[in-house]
Subunit: 224 residues, 2 copies
Amino acid sequence: MTPTITAFEASPDRGRGMARDMRVRWALEEVGQPYDVRLVSFAEMKQPAHLAVQPFGQIPSYEEGDLAIFETGAIVLRIAETHKGLLPENEAGRARAISWIFAALNTVEPPLVDIQFATLFERDKPWAAERLAMIQERARKPLGFLSKRLGEAEWLDGEFSAGDLMMAGVLFRSKPSGLIDEHKNLAAYVARAEARPAFRRAFADQLEVFKAAEAKGLSSAPPR
Amino acid sequence: MTPTITAFEASPDRGRGMARDMRVRWALEEVGQPYDVRLVSFAEMKQPAHLAVQPFGQIPSYEEGDLAIFETGAIVLRIAETHKGLLPENEAGRARAISWIFAALNTVEPPLVDIQFATLFERDKPWAAERLAMIQERARKPLGFLSKRLGEAEWLDGEFSAGDLMMAGVLFRSKPSGLIDEHKNLAAYVARAEARPAFRRAFADQLEVFKAAEAKGLSSAPPR
C-alpha cells in the first residue's frame, strides 16, 4: 500500500530542505518506497482533520491504510522497521541504531533548534549576542561527544542506518549555525549523507513543491 | 537475563525524580522486570568505559547481555518491545504509542528543558524575565495542543502505554515550570501517572540512592 505523507504547501524554508518532511522523504527514498504527498496550508494544519492525525498541528504525518502516525522519529522508525536497509538485522545493532535516532532528536537537536529560535526571534534584543554565546556553548557539548565517537568512521555504527539518517538530518538542518563546521569529521559526515542519491532525490522533490507554490504566489511565511 | 542500568551516584536533583534513570526504572517496574543499577560518578561518566556505552557521557544506559544501548527513549522502547504491557498488541495502536514517545521527547520536552536551563543559568541576567516569558510562550504551544488532544481521557490513546509513560515523565519533570498546572487535565494526567504503583516504586528506589549518597557525604553538584 502506498503511504501518504503531509508536507507544507508553501515551506517557510523556501525549499532548502529544512522542513521535517525532508527526513521522511529521504527514508522512503532510501528503501525505494513510492509515496503520495498531501500538501497542507498553515491554516489547514490547525484544523480538526489534520489535528486528528498530527495532534500538534505540524507536518509531517504518515498514513498507510488504517495506520496514521506522527513525529519524524516515529515515522522514520516505522519505515525502517517495515522495509529492508535502514536497520541492522542483528538485535543488538538494531537497538543501537534506534539509540542514535533518539540521540539525534533528544540530545543533539534541541540546543541546535534553540539556536535557530534565538537567531530568528531574539536577534534584535540588546542581549542577543550574550545569549547566543550561551546557547552555542550548550550545543557544542553534544557535538563534541558526537565528533569524538564518530572519529574517522564513515557512519556511526557500521553500515548507514536510520540512526545516521536522523543524525545527519539534524546536523544538515543546523549547518547555518556554523557549529557543525567546527568539527571536520561532522562536516564530512553530513556531506556524505547529502551525496547519497536518496537524499538528493528527496531534496529535489521538496524543492519542486516549493517552486510550484511560489509560481502560484502562495505565501511561505507562517503565521506568528 | 537481568538488565543493568546506570544512574547518578549522587543525583544533582537530590532524589526528586528528575534524573533520566527515573523513566527507565518506571518502565521496568511497570513490566515487572528486576534490574541491577550501576552507579556512576560525574568523573566516571566522562571516562572511556562509560562513553563506550553512553557516547554523550550521560545517564542512563541499559545493558542486557551483549546488548548495550543509550537514550531514555530507546531504552523505554526496548523494554516495551520485549515485555508485555506497555505497547498495544495491534500494529496501528503500537505505532501511535511510539509516536507519543517521540512527541514527548522531541516536541513537548525541548522547550520545557530550555525553561529549566533559563531558570538555572540565566536567572541573574538583567534580561532573564523577558527571555523567560518568550520561552514560556514557546513551551505553551505544544502543551495547549496536548491538553486539547487529551481532553477528559485517562490516557492519551486507550490503555496506559509507553507513550503515556514518556509524556507523563516529561510533564512530571517540568512541574516546577508552573506551565503544566495551567491545564487542569494535564495536571490530573501527571497525578494519575504518579499514583501508579510502578511509578512510586521507581521514585522510592532512586530516592534511596540519593539518601545513601548523602549519608556518605558525596557531592551532588555536577561540574560545570
